[in-house]
Amino acid sequence: MIQDSAASGDAFAADLLRGHTDTIVLGVLREHDSYGFEIYKHIRDATGGGYEIKEATLYASYRRLVRDGLAEAYWGDESQGGRRKYYRITDAGRAAFRQNVASWVATRTIIDSLLGSQPAPANTKGSLR
């Protein structure tokens, strides 16, 4: 969710982020299996708490990933309040992630050159892998 105080520049960034929700979630799952709140928190912390991806967007994303076979959902039962739903990335998901990261890098280069904005430091590409 965009914070109420967000300027229009922030709205632009939030839109961009939202467009890559599935890839971002896959990126989180690539590290280890995870559940809704953990993923949500991970994304919130990574954005410095400035933007919060709307939970509705995330739940829709999980369903989409499972339906497309990019992630697998399973119920664990460690938490006391209720069972917890975990997501695990599949090999198809890893392939999709790599492909999406490659398209993002390509897009970023094009936009950078079109907008005349400073290209990102050379080491970012490595850190995405």
């Binding site: 467009g19 809704g36 339906r67 938490s79």
Partner: protein, 321 residues
């Protein structure tokens, strides 16, 4: 999670029930509700640590969810409609409802791991070599000791077993990988079966036939394990494959939709076969017995044509209905 007070939980559960009131309790909605419940509890615990009172934390966590109806709609299939609204990039590969099977397969493609391919090829060569040596060893062409032959049968079983288990443990475009335990059992049982059959062949040619009992035990155990595994097997298919199957099933089995057509087909078949069986002796006695099977072939062809016509050729009748 340890700092969840019972009071907090009650409040969250109540608010969650309220939020879901009036929503059709489909399995998807229930599933989503349980998933949300756990995440809400975590969020409430976080808010409480930050200093909110339990009631306040519960209310805020539920408020942050937004409209639950929208959430249910977004989660249960209308995701694509919602995705457009949220500006979901096409690069994230949402499934269009009309996507063809080939398109879906391409989109969900999983490439085999190179190490797996190498393993399978090497073991395949080993298995083929073992099989050829075993067969040759059983003939007088290649004089080998009986013990060596038994060892070769074991190698053959081992190679086939490892190939089987390894293959089942791989994720493919259409299937999730089999859990390790089941994959190992499948591989072991298949290997045992192959080794048992190989041993039986060695016994038949070289040994006292009493040893067949041992071979039979190996084979029976292997078949029993495979049967048990097969009987307890659940779905391994990925969701997109299941959707495809459902769509294919919906393409129409007329006999299920229209029992009268099924009954008509039964009567037609009975008439066709009765005619054929009457014609068999008639032809046999008049033209000659060489011609007698002809009506049976004719009846089979007629039945298949009627089946094809009745089961699938009904678009006109469907639109008129």
């Amino acid at each position: 999670m340890n700092d969840r007070s019972p009071r907090t939980s009650t409040e969250v559960h109540r608010l969650l029930d309220e939020a879901f009131a009036g929503i059709d309790p489909t399995p998807e909605a229930q599933d989503l509700k349980e998933e949300i419940r756990d995440n809400l509890l975590s969020r409430v615990a976080e808010l409480e640590v930050a200093g909110a009172t339990p009631a306040e934390a519960a209310r805020r966590a539920v408020d942050e969810l937004g409209d639950v109806r929208e959430l249910v709609a977004a989660a249960s299939g209308e995701a694509d409609v919602h995705a457009d609204a949220t500006g979901q990039a096409p690069a994230t590969r949402g499934t269009r409802p009309g996507a063809s099977a080939a398109e879906l397969a391409e989109r969900n493609r999983v490439r085999p791991k190179p190490a797996f391919v190498v393993r399978t090829v090497v073991l395949g060569i080993v298995a083929a070599a073992a099989l050829v040596t075993l067969v040759l060893g059983l003939t007088p062409l290649l004089p080998l000791a009986t013990g060596a032959l038994i060892a070769i049968a074991a190698v053959l079983g081992l190679a086939i077993g490892v190939i089987t288990g390894d293959a089942l443990h791989q994720e493919t475009t259409t299937n999730y990988p089999l859990p390790t335990g089941r994959a190992v059992l499948f591989g072991a049982a298949t290997g045992l079966l192959v080794a048992g059959l190989g041993f039986a062949a060695v016994v038949a040619v070289r040994l006292d036939l009493v040893w067949l009992v041992l071979a039979a035990v190996l084979v029976v155990v292997a078949i029993a394990v495979l049967s048990a595994l097969g009987a307890t097997q659940t779905n391994r298919h990925k969701p997109w494959v299941l959707t495809l199957h459902r769509d294919a099933a919906r393409a129409g089995n007329r006999f299920e939709e229209d029992p009268a057509a099924a009954a008509r087909f039964g009567i037609y078949s009975a008439v066709i076969w009765l005619t054929a069986f009457v014609l068999v002796p008639v032809l046999g006695f008049t033209v000659g017995w060489w011609w007698a099977p002809l009506p049976v072939v004719g009846a089979f062809i007629a039945m298949m044509l009627v089946l094809a016509r009745m089961l699938f050729g009904h678009d006109a009748s469907r639109t008129s209905r």
